[in-house]
């Protein structure tokens, strides 16, 4: 029986090496495929029972291994929507029928509808900011939608908050005439500044802010809508002050007194109530000097470009210079990435042994960060593949020699009878 065994064993060896050569062929073919993970063959023995006196040669069985967890080199590109993961996470993508898959192939480009689609035709998904700051659903694909950047979208945000920091001159004369709050043509003020805020439609409203010293360490703030101003002299405005407030300064240090008002709140016409924080105002012995002004909100604007931060938040920058988050791109992980089930297009689904898919955000745990403008090259090394190819070739030849020897011996055996 042993001669037949010997021939069968060498055939299994040849099959195994042919298998290995197949993975080498695929690895080399995909050595430049973005997000491709190299495959390899693991061998194990199959033993045929024998006795102490007689050895029955067994055979070799092969198992395909895929090095999914092995990070590929990041190569940098000029496209912002090229994404790579520096860590062990996966992008969650949808195919055209909406089934979810995991992938690390991040060469996304926007299609005609603004959806980000990769080279294999899978759409990137993320959590939308449309209903506030999103949170990840840990164990399912619920809430994920296809990331879509609609360049024709016009957006405006009304101002709700502002900050105004200035120094009021301590040595200024006390205003003895009519204060700006009276809105008379003869109104006198000590200092004036102005600030742009946005209404509900994104229209710009310029606020004239008057500061008038009414007594030592006491200043009156009056705010008017510049659109109502009289030509040249400003006063009188067509309508009264939007808000008036009194700031009291602490004579000990020139800062706002603890008991003083520290902000003003006014209603922008056709807009939201705006609170302007003045807590950092000072009254020191120098000139009137505005040191900081900030307001939120923006005027109507188209999306100019998008950028993706390394925590996966996709920001749209509008052509008026403001930035809004649109989506947050999650990263999925499994316990054993190497045992995920692979499909065409470098995508994976949960395998029987891989463990459950868990979704979280970049920088959480070992998911890693998202690199924008980069791609993960395949983790195939040509030199490695070529050497294993030579090895397989030699092993295959050796196996075939064993087969030939068995065959020759059978020949001898058959020729014993003439």
């Amino acid at each position: 029986m042993s001669l037949y065994n010997l021939m069968r064993t060498s055939v299994s060896g040849m099959n195994a090496q042919a298998n290995r050569l197949s993975t080498v062929a695929e690895n080399i073919a995909n050595s430049d495929t973005v997000g491709y993970k190299r495959k390899s063959i693991a061998f194990s023995t199959l033993v045929v029972p024998g006795t102490k006196a007689q050895f029955n040669s067994g055979s070799v069985v092969t198992t395909v291994r895929e090095a999914v967890a092995l990070q590929g080199v990041l190569t940098y590109t000029a496209s912002i929507t090229d994404l790579a993961i520096d860590g062990s996470g996966f992008f969650v993508v949808h195919d055209s029928s909406g089934s979810p898959y995991l992938t690390r192939a991040g060469s996304f480009v926007p299609d005609s509808e603004g959806r980000l689609v990769n080279a294999a035709g899978f759409f990137l998904t993320g959590y939308s900011y449309a209903n506030g700051i999103p949170s990840a659903v840990a164990n399912g694909f619920e809430g994920l939608e296809i990331v879509s950047i609609d360049n024709t979208d016009l957006a405006a945000t009304p101002t709700t908050f502002g900050e105004f920091v200035a120094n009021l001159p301590e040595a200024a004369d006390i205003v003895t005439g009519n204060l700006p709050s009276t809105n008379l043509a003869t109104a006198e003020y000590t200092e004036k500044s102005s600030l742009v805020v946005y209404d509900n439609f994104g229209g710009r409203v310029v606020l004239d802010i008057y500061f008038s010293k009414t007594a030592d360490n006491t200043w009156e703030v009056a705010v008017y809508d510049q659109a109502d101003a009289a030509p040249d002299t400003s006063f009188p405005y067509a309508s009264g002050p939007m808000v008036t407030e009194t700031l009291a300064f602490d004579p000990a240090n020139g800062r706002l007194d603890a008991a003083s008002a520290s902000s003003i709140t006014l209603n922008v016409p056709d807009g939201e109530p705006v609170t302007i924080d003045m807590a950092s105002m000072t009254q020191l012995a120098t000139n009137f000097m505005v040191t900081s002004t900030e307001v939120n909100g923006n005027s109507p604007a188209f999306i100019q470009s998008v950028s993706i931060a390394d925590d996966g938040i996709l920001y749209a920058s509008y052509d008026d210079g403001t930035l809004q988050p649109l989506y947050r791109i999650p990263l999925a992980t499994v316990m054993s990435p190497d045992l995920l089930e692979g499909h065409s297009g470098n995508v994976y689904t949960q395998g029987t042994e891989s463990g459950d898919i868990q979704i979280g955000f970049a920088n959480d745990g070992d998911r890693g960060r998202i690199a924008s403008g980069a791609l993960e090259a395949s983790n195939v090394d040509i030199a490695d593949e070529l050497t294993s190819m030579i090895q397989s070739q030699r092993s295959y030849t050796a196996n075939s020699k064993v087969f030939q020897t068995g065959s020759d011996l059978m020949d001898v055996l058959v020729n014993l009878k003439r």
């Binding site: 102005s194 950028s307 920058s317 210079g321 040509i382 030199a383």
Partner: protein, 486 residues
């Protein structure tokens, strides 16, 4: 590390090198551009390999701030100086030959000669002609002042227009910068352009800046907002023509009037405040001085009752449209220099008689002093001569004292303008030196140094060669491996 990784790293190195070289070549091509700020390419090392991160711009914010301040000071001083120079050449002339003072002296001399031989009618005629010269000079100088004010006013209008257009350019540049900063693109060119605009704006009005998020800038000028998200309006209505009593309109930035500078070494920063100073202070003072000279002449040569009786003093040789009454003493009458004239009764060219100067009586028989008609009567002429040298009251608002002789006042007026011009000139030289020095410091700090760029280029060349050699080595190794496969 595998061979493929080595290849990838060498490739990204070549990619980075090409971008670094483009930054260096951009620097070199802008070596002579004083508004250009040197850039350098920043790299970040990654595992594995190197990543090109951003272009850094080596701007020196503090030096830039001092530089624009000093150039605003110089611009103001220079504007003031050139206008004072213009006024000087039209009112005084290069060597004082056009000055009211020299004409007054000539008239004084002619009067003295006449008083020595009062019987000589020709000398009387010469004295009156000299008076006519003096009056013409006063009229011309007053006209020159008002036309200067008109042209300065037009210049203010042009400056305001330019400021508004610079601010709208600033809006565009600022928008591009904030947008680019958010998107993470290289905004160095827009930053250069915005800095150039700040330089231009600070030549017109002083500028201070507040930096906000995303490289957004707020521009303030002496507490008035010039630019905050949007440009603020700078408004001004020019006057089409100026008379002595015309008051120029205010320039308002965001509703706040711009203050004029003061002093010959002016406190003005930026050309606008200096122009306002010329229009509202210097020329007005000068006009007041001329008006006071004119009033002094009318007053000194007025005919008074020779008998000491109750007849009122009336305008004599010099008169004006408000005559024959004499203007109130010690108070400036605006525009008098423009309207003063020689009484036609004295002017032989208009059929008048110069002898009235000797005898009096232009305002009627009651004012005749030489009642006997003696041809050698010189008392009146001698008194006039003395009066020209005797102190009289002047309006202090003219700025050169309140009690001095008419001749001295005219000479002081000349000296005032000369002195103003000299100290404006001196201050201009000092401020120019500072501005030039700071600008050169700024250029050497943030400008391009060709030597540095060339050595950087050599470095890049070496690195490029090394990377290329690495690729060749890996290629050779792979070829050896392929040769092993038969």
């Amino acid at each position: 590390m595998s061979l493929s990784t080595a290849l990838n790293i060498a490739q990204s190195s070549l990619f980075n090198l090409s971008r670094q070289t483009s930054v260096v070549s951009n620097n070199i091509s802008n070596a002579g551009n004083e508004n250009y700020v040197r850039r350098s390419a920043a790299l970040e090392s990654m595992n594995p390999g190197v990543r090109f991160v951003s272009v850094r711009r080596h701007a020196d914010v503090e030096l830039f701030r001092s530089s624009i301040q000093s150039s605003a000071n110089f611009e103001a001083q220079n504007t003031l100086h050139s206008h004072i120079n213009g006024l000087k050449s039209s009112i005084i002339g290069a060597n004082g030959e056009l000055s009211v003072s020299s004409h007054l002296t000539a008239f004084h001399n002619a009067l003295q000669v006449y008083s020595a031989s009062p019987s000589d009618g020709l000398l009387g005629e010469a004295a009156v002609n000299s008076a006519k010269d003096l009056v013409r000079r006063l009229n011309d100088a007053a006209n020159a002042i008002q036309s200067t004010r008109t042209s300065v006013d037009a210049e203010i209008g042009a400056n305001v227009d330019r400021l508004n257009s610079l601010l709208s350019d600033f809006y565009e540049a600022n928008k591009e910068i904030t947008k680019g900063t958010i998107a993470g693109t290289d905004v160095s060119n827009a930053l250069d352009r915005r800095d150039t605009l700040i330089k231009e704006i600070s030549k017109i009005v002083p500028v201070s800046t507040i930096q906000r998020a995303n490289n957004d800038l707020v521009l303030m000028s002496n507490g008035a907002t010039l630019f905050e998200t949007t440009p603020r309006d700078v408004t001004f209505t020019p006057q089409t023509a100026y008379g002595p009593s015309t008051v120029g309109n205010l320039v308002r930035i965001d509703g706040i009037p711009v203050d004029a500078g003061t002093g010959a070494n002016t406190t003005a920063k930026g050309s606008l405040a200096a122009l306002l100073q010329v229009r509202d202070t210097v020329t007005v003072d000068l006009q007041n001085q001329l008006d006071e000279v004119a009033r002094g002449l009318i007053d000194t040569f007025a005919e008074r009752d020779p008998s000491g009786g109750g007849l009122p003093a009336l305008a004599g040789l010099f008169t004006y449209p408000g005559g024959p009454g004499v203007p109130a003493a010690g108070t400036v009458v605006q525009g008098l220099a423009l309207t003063i004239s020689v009484n036609s009764l004295f002017d032989p060219a208009q059929g008048g008689d110069p002898a009235l100067l000797r005898d009096g009586g232009a305002n009627g028989a009651g004012y005749i002093e030489n009642t006997s008609g003696a041809a050698s009567f010189a008392d009146r002429l001698i008194r006039y001569n003395e009066a020209l040298d005797a102190p009289i009251a002047f309006d202090a608002t003219a700025g050169i004292g309140s009690s001095k002789s008419l001749v001295a006042f005219a000479a002081d007026s000349l000296g005032w303008l000369e002195g103003y011009r000299a100290s404006a000139n001196e201050a201009a030289i000092t401020k120019q030196a500072l501005a030039v020095q700071l600008n050169e410091a700024l250029i050497s700090e943030s400008g391009v140094n060709l030597d540095e760029e060339m050595s950087r280029l050599l470095d890049l060349e070496n690195t490029f060669e090394a990377s290329a050699r690495l690729i060749r080595a890996v290629d050779q190794m792979l070829q050896d491996l392929l040769a092993a496969v038969r």
